[in-house]
Subunit: 216 residues, 2 copies
Amino acid sequence: MKNMQQLQSEGRSGLEDKHDGNVPRERDGVARVRLPNGAHRLAVTMETWDAIRSRRDVRSYTDQPIAPADLDRILESARRAPSSSNEQRWDFVVCTERRRLQDLAKVWRHGGHVATSAATIALVVPDAADAYTRESIQFDLGQAAMSIMLAAADLGIGSGHSVVEDQGRARRILGLPDDRFCALLIPLGYPADRPLHPIRRPNRRPFDEVVHRERW
Amino acid sequence: MKNMQQLQSEGRSGLEDKHDGNVPRERDGVARVRLPNGAHRLAVTMETWDAIRSRRDVRSYTDQPIAPADLDRILESARRAPSSSNEQRWDFVVCTERRRLQDLAKVWRHGGHVATSAATIALVVPDAADAYTRESIQFDLGQAAMSIMLAAADLGIGSGHSVVEDQGRARRILGLPDDRFCALLIPLGYPADRPLHPIRRPNRRPFDEVVHRERW
């Protein structure tokens, strides 16, 4: 949790929590988020370790919208992700219009959850010719995707990867330039089934199988 | 920050914070971490949003070792990362022996910081033939890498990607099977220059350039 000195030394408009004396005080797990209209609201946030353990694939969302400041924080997390030689070979198209989300849901046969998401972020990258560059872009994009999903989980917002099969349709809906393609959609929304909460036994290979000490 | 009810309902041996009444109490930004010998220690942790803004490329480390429970938490974060169809096409080899780290530092001409890291995690993946699978593995690996780096940042531990050019040498040092290769090293350690702290103006393309609303 930030202390007040840190808060006062920060304050990036619209993206940072800011202490100006007449807005609600922060407390454990609650941060002030400034809205575009200058007002503040409180947002529930988590410790990193809780966010990491709480993130799960969420494909069913309530109809609660994501506050603009929260959505900007999620996008800012993507922007800050590291990339090879800091090349940042990515753009993020964020969609919230219901009609557009319904159209986007059609770019993959299993992408129905895009239609009911509160927002969907399209991850757009250049269409590189050589295999090395394509793989490097995908690695970087994985880092940005994880930043998005953890920043969302921190706010109690679920996410669920959605693949793009029909590039032509995605290109038309998003208005993409010819030299780019949409590598992935990340639909976001508050979980309809149960809130995010640290998962005790994740569905993963056992720790001692996947982790090797000093040598394989 | 967790409340005590949550703490009591969790408790995965060695990896989770656990409340058993006779260990120090948690407070803002401080979590109990259980050591392999059953004792507890306090670790400084951050809010997710702070960890995301604090992570930076760190290539110069103090000689402070990483506590085993902290290293396990970082590895557990990697294990929990999402992957395509939950395939988990990855293994993590964690190295802390100084001699081994010095050897590993030679697999890339710019990898000198591996030698002085407190620990280095080798990300090992299968050597797939087709381009689609290779790209998919790289995307997943980026997600795992980001989990590692944010879990580390949460504990005040810096990280700095290191490439693998000499696969033969990496294979010998790590004892890798023939059908795997080391895709990346992630050296970890406490920053020698300055502690991790939220970065106010990251060296990135401007927000309004990289983020598009509804359409490109």
